[in-house]
């Protein structure tokens, strides 16, 4: 087990460098001059431009820029964004907000999705199941921003249960509605995944054997059906956590949340290589850690994986 974790951690190193290199290169290759863009309509003096270029190493060839950036990354001194704020500060402000949002979203999709999927799977073909299928199909086919605006209008504007937009602090309670919007599509997928998995497992031989042993139906479902059915669902949720963080940009826009999405979007538009790559680096780490956790959880749920060499 330790060997397994160690190997997985070692595997992260090349992935990390590969991903940051690619992103850095892509931002570098973006058209437009980031320094000139800073000044907007005004025409800066060439001396100022030169000085800014030197400050951000933009006068160096690409590979030198990247290596210098790596050095700053390793020394945890990420430097300043082009607007002069330390990148570390920008990240410290944006990441916790999006992390809270994504955590709430994952909790919602896991709890609600598995519950609905379980009931659907047990009552396949009945009214509840059919309704759940229709609703999940709707959620999958309607774009997030439509769902976002509708829920915002109904719950915030009409009913007044929550605020329509999120304040600069972006506390847990303010983020509940945005989290539901963010999770809506995944929620639908989890319903379907759980439903299929449950109804498939209900027909498994060992489930019939469990019933033949005299166990109650409740226990058969809890102990022998649910756990086995959760294996694919857990994989999905783990992979989805990273996707939710990156994909939060639309939801953050609708609810005016000061999260990662907006910040990165601005940075890409302005060609701020170091800022973009710093955020992406964190994304990469989050993705990899989430995947590792999924694999470990997988081993907990399924002993065949735990003991396979």
């Amino acid at each position: 087990m330790l060997w397994f974790i160690g190997r997985r951690l070692l595997q992260m190193i090349p992935v990390f460098f590969g991903a940051t290199f690619l992103i850095y290169f892509m931002v570098f290759a973006l058209p437009g001059d980031p320094i000139l863009a800073l000044f907007g309509e005004k025409t800066p003096s060439p001396a100022v431009v030169e000085q800014l270029r030197a400050q951000y190493h933009l006068d160096q060839p690409f590979i030198v820029q990247y290596l210098l950036y790596l050095k700053s990354l390793v020394t945890f001194d990420l430097g300043n964004s082009f607007s002069g704020r330390p990148i570390a500060d920008v990240m410290a402000k944006a990441f916790p907000v999006t992390l809270r949002l994504a955590t709430l979203a994952v909790l919602f999709e896991a709890v609600a999705g598995i519950t609905v999927g379980l009931i659907s799977g047990l009552r396949k073909g009945k009214f509840f199941d059919s309704s759940a299928l229709v609703v999940s199909l709707l959620l999958i086919s309607i774009p997030t921003f439509v769902i976002g605006f509708v829920l915002q209008y109904v719950f915030a504007v009409q009913l007044g249960w929550t605020k329509a937009t999120v304040g600069p602090q972006a506390g847990w309670s303010e983020l509940v509605l945005p989290a539901i919007v963010l999770a809506s599509v995944s929620f639908a997928y989890i319903i379907r995944l759980t439903r299929t998995s449950i109804s498939e497992n209900m027909g498994a031989d060992y489930v019939r054997t469990a019933s033949s042993k005299g166990l109650t139906r409740g226990r058969v479902v809890r102990v022998h059906v649910l756990r086995n059915s959760l294996i694919p669902v857990v994989t999905f949720i783990g992979a989805d956590f990273g996707a939710l963080m990156v994909g939060a940009i639309v939801t953050e826009g609708i609810f005016n949340i000061p999260g990662v999405g907006g910040t990165v979007f601005q940075a890409i538009k302005q060609g701020q290589g170091p800022t973009v790559v710093s955020f992406v680096a964190v994304f990469v780490i989050i993705f990899m850690v989430a995947n590792l956790l999924v694999d470990l959880l997988y081993a907990v749920l399924d002993p065949r994986i735990r003991y396979a060499n």
């Binding site: 027909g203 498994a204 031989d205 399924d302 065949r304």
Partner: protein
Amino acid sequence: MSIDTQANVGTASAATADQRKPMLEVRDLQVGFTTQDKGIVPAVRGVNFTLNAGETLAIVGESGSGKSTTAHAIINLLPGTGKITGGSVFFDGEEISAMNARQIEDVRGRLIGFVPQDPMSNLNPVWNIGFQVEETLRANGLADSKTDARQKAIKVLQEAGLSDAASRLKQYPHQFSGGMRQRVLIGIGLSSQPKLLIADEPTSALDVTVQKVILDHLAMLTRETGTSVLFITHDLGLAAERAEKLVVMYQGKIVESGRSKDILADPVHPYTRRLVAAAPSLASKRMQIQKVEDADATELTDALDVTMIERAEQREERAKSGRGYITVSDVSKTYTIRRGGFKADLFTAVDKVSFQIDKGTTMGIVGESGSGKSTLAKLMLKLEPLSGGAISVDGKDIDSIKGAKELLAFRRKVQPVFQDPYGTLDPMYNIANTIAEPLNTHKIGTSKQRRARVRELLDQVLMPQSTMNRYPGELSGGQRQRIAIARALALKPEILVLDEAVSALDVLVQGQVLNLLTELQQELGLTYMFITHDLAVVRLVADRVCVMQKGRIVETATTDEVFDNPKELYTQELLSAIPGAGFEFGR
């Protein structure tokens, strides 16, 4: 129906008076499955039988006869849309078919134990063995605390024949062999000493020798406790050996019932007769008789065995030419098994095996699972490299085959047919494409010629040409295996490697496929390497037999020598484990 209890002299003499009491009465039982397009399709159509206390009754029939459905209906565990549509089931005087869900939960496990068919899929892979036994004990109120449950679970497993139960409680099903798992399932089924045990093909997935040990053990346990046993099987010999009463089912109905010995000695219904005739364990015996009494053989309505004998004689003559067509000498295969970290073990699957197969003959390779016979097939097919020794075909060392062109030429010569007719055909390919695929791969003929060849092959395997546009999912197991054989023959090979090619089929279908294979051998002069765990089948088709155990060949001889005069202890064990071996059968 008078009941003979001679086989069940229980240890408790008090039970004797009890033994005539009906334990299970099934009255006009009808079960149907709801389908979308055809409404309710009946699976069991009016079944009646009575099982008395302490007695063993076997229901025999091919797959689809409704025997397992009957068993599941008794404890109300019908799969999917299955439903009891009529009749009733009485257990120990109570009508259990009228019970609600809670009441039947109380009966299951505690009063009626159940041993399912396939040990591989009937234990939950994510819980350890101890847990799965303990929860049974606790659900039936046989243990009140965790430690109590654990101790009793160990006892249950030890009684079921797992001597090292205490140390293996924390292990998971995938760490157990099939036979061990079946012991666990038997332990679970008997854990609360039920009055009735329903055993649904409890050993069909196991090797014959393991089967014998487990059934002996099961018989001992149920005799000790005076448990009635309802035994479901497709194997007539097995049923006759293990049960005093027989019920033969066909298409959802009982066609014959009575005392086992009577039915086997004098089957009345035509279906039972066919079943008795086709059971390989029995048919092989008759083949011997017919060789002596030729006059008798001509009377046989079933053409299968007569032609087989004739062919066997012709084969013997032909075998004299073309000696050593395939020569296997000192062949070994070792695998490296990783043990986690950097440790690794060597596992020898095939250990210095040597034999020869003459052209146009059949070599039967027999052994239990794990004996290395399937590995040998892979080596023969050049699907895996040899670790030692050499195999030569028609004088050419297959190890010296290099490059795609030579390999394709080799593949045209040697073709496989595998065990699972469900797994070896691509469900998305129609039959014509399936059979034509080797022709496409080897770029033989125009597309018109290929289609013509497909038709020809379908004729050869006795399938209608209209099958061409159908898909594997629409065919039965026997039909699929014919398609697999047609595909193997597409390239006009000289050698077929048949790896358990008939093991997944029902007896009657098995007989047909074996007959087809011998016919094709006759017509096309094929050489067969016939791998099976079933000695009885080997007797029908093989000229010579190799008996394998743990990667080695323990005995090689002609088929008759092996059966009449087995030299090795292991071969004798295998032979004596064939169910029904000690019975006299009518026809």
